[in-house]
């Protein structure tokens, strides 16, 4: 029982960072109908950037987030304009899978040339301090990571619901044709939306680097988790991404503590397949647009 509750606590605390990554990915899908396979690589790039800022200039990852998000926002816009915009509309959904995978490989190559393939981690002064509450251990760094992810998600929420740009994005997600008729410029929304997705990846990456060791190949693990989270929640639904992250990370933490860590990966794939068997569109997804 103790192990179970400890697993749930751990799972909920880790869910924050996954929710952040997945919300960027599901946002990109919502706007452009593009499944971004480079999201994991972008997260790792964000982790490397804040690692570099920490080791060279001593800037705490929590403070470097504004810098890395702005840099990655620009990168995301560049990727959309250079590689995704030229694709023709009719075969965009299939080709964009391959193009974003190629971007992931490109980023992986660049990262492994720049930082080599040795495993890195951002070790802050508070990395190992922890509290014990009612016999359950809560590490400070995980709590920080959780709060930070929630804060970043809050910023994303405000951006989408309280600004003109956010309204344009939500209009495009709901109905691209009508949004265009009402004067929303689709190509601009796509570029900025992809940038926003990359920016959330950067924020998540800074947090991820605090929690886990990583190298340039880590994005394969990340992308498989992210895909199952966004599919579980329903592609295009940010709320779904948060719920999906909670389900995935608590279930794998419980399995890891109750059975064995080597089976925790397997758990959420099985959950995903079961959910898809009953609801092919995911928990909060809609059946629109021929994807299902």
């Amino acid at each position: 029982m103790h192990a179970l509750i400890q697993g749930i606590i751990l799972g909920v605390l880790t869910a924050g960072v996954y929710a952040l990554m997945a919300s960027g990915q599901t946002l990109i899908f919502g706007i452009m109908k593009v499944v971004n396979l480079a999201q994991g690589a972008m997260v790792i790039l964000g982790a490397y950037l804040s690692y570099q800022l920490f080791t060279s200039f001593g800037i705490d990852p929590l403070l470097s987030i504004p810098l890395t998000t702005i840099a990655m926002f620009v990168l995301g816009v560049a990727v959309e304009v250079l590689f995704l915009r030229p694709l023709r509309r009719e075969d965009r959904s299939e080709l964009s899978l391959l193009v974003t995978f190629a971007v992931a490989l490109l980023l992986e190559g660049i990262m492994s040339v720049t930082w080599k393939t040795t495993v890195r981690s951002t070790n802050t002064g508070y990395a190992n301090s922890s509290w014990t509450v009612f016999g359950y251990q809560i590490t400070l760094v995980r709590l920080w990571a959780f709060l930070l992810s929630i804060a970043a998600l809050g910023v994303l929420y405000l951006l989408l619901n309280r600004t003109r740009f956010g309204r344009a994005i939500r209009a495009t997600v709901q109905n691209p044709e009508s949004a265009r008729l009402l004067g929303v410029e689709a190509s601009r929304v796509s570029a900025l939306g992809f940038g926003l997705g990359a920016a959330t990846a950067a924020a998540a990456g800074s947090v991820y680097g605090l929690l886990y060791p990583f190298n340039s190949g880590s994005h394969y693990d990340l992308i498989s988790r992210l895909l199952s989270i966004v599919l579980l929640g329903g592609l295009g639904s940010i709320g779904g991404a948060v719920v999906g992250a909670l389900v995935v990370s608590t279930s794998s933490a419980i399995v890891a503590s109750a059975i064995s860590p080597s089976w925790s990966e397997m758990t959420f794939f099985v959950i995903l397949l079961l959910v898809l068997l009953i609801r092919p569109q995911g928990l909060f997804g809609t059946t629109a647009r021929g994807a299902i």
Binding site: S93, L105, S262, L273, P280
Partner: protein, 352 residues
Amino acid sequence: MTAARYLGPAKGIAFFAILASLPSFNIAHWVLNIAVFTLMYAVMSSSWNLVGGFAGYPSLGHAAFFGIGAYGTALWFQHHAITSGYEPFELLPLIGILAALLGLPVAMIAMRTRSDVFAIVTITLLFVTQTLAFNLRSLTHGAQGLSIAVAPFSARTYERPFYYVLLLLLALAMGISLGAMRSKLGLSLAAVRADEDKARGIGVRTFGVKLLSFSISVGLTAMVGGIWAYYEGFIYPQFAIDPLVTIAIVLMTFLGGRATLWGPVLGAFILETAQQTLAYSLGGSQFYLIAYAMVFLLVMLLMPRGIVPSIQAGLRRRRRKAAVDAAGSQGNAADTKDRGVRSTLSTVKGSA
């Protein structure tokens, strides 16, 4: 007209004759080694094309079945001796049939979704299979991997049996593709690709043809996996079930041209040789990954429809132009009129 009718079979016979005579030219081992890998990918992209090209279901899970074939062979020969060296090849039909049967329930689940969601579901299956290969240690020995006895072929002609079996498999895969293209199956698959709901509405058995194409496709892929395991002699989970294998297959098919007979083969011949050469020249260093990704991106952006369809479109355009010219020389009046229109157009363009 009659010449055109024999062009297709002639092309096929010439292609296979050249490939079959290749090993007898006493070429270097490393070249034949590349040829073996190229044939593996040619078979796999041809069979991927059945699902991803003809039916329009972009599976990213084929590497899982490649791995199942590889583990099938490796596991069988943990308990059975290899004497003549040809037993692993004799086992291949069985592996193909078992993998095809296994593909049926998988397709039943996965093919409830379409396009990009289908791609994600299948890549999830790939990761599940990889995790199983790592974790079922009593069966697969986990990360330690499995080894297969070295084939008792003479070192001088070691690659040849693998090469010829793969060539046979390529003929089979292309034969199935051709058969599908010429039959009702291909027509049904094309209808599924164009508009599945409408196809079902007019009475196409969409569910059946989807399942059939998926299971044939993964059966062939598993057979290649079996040959690969025997050729390599050692298999590890991360190489036997590798997302990069899937991506390579998909990329080759896209490069050559989806839903064409020769496209996937052409794509495999170009990309696999390029990749092997890149790996040789930039070997080890991570620049190889960057170079590969750049090639990848250029292909996707410059030739989104693939080589074969682009050439076909070009030929059609030329033929049409030739027909117009022939008609033009007969009636000069029409020709001058046409030229008049064209010059007006160019002046309009010039002034604008």
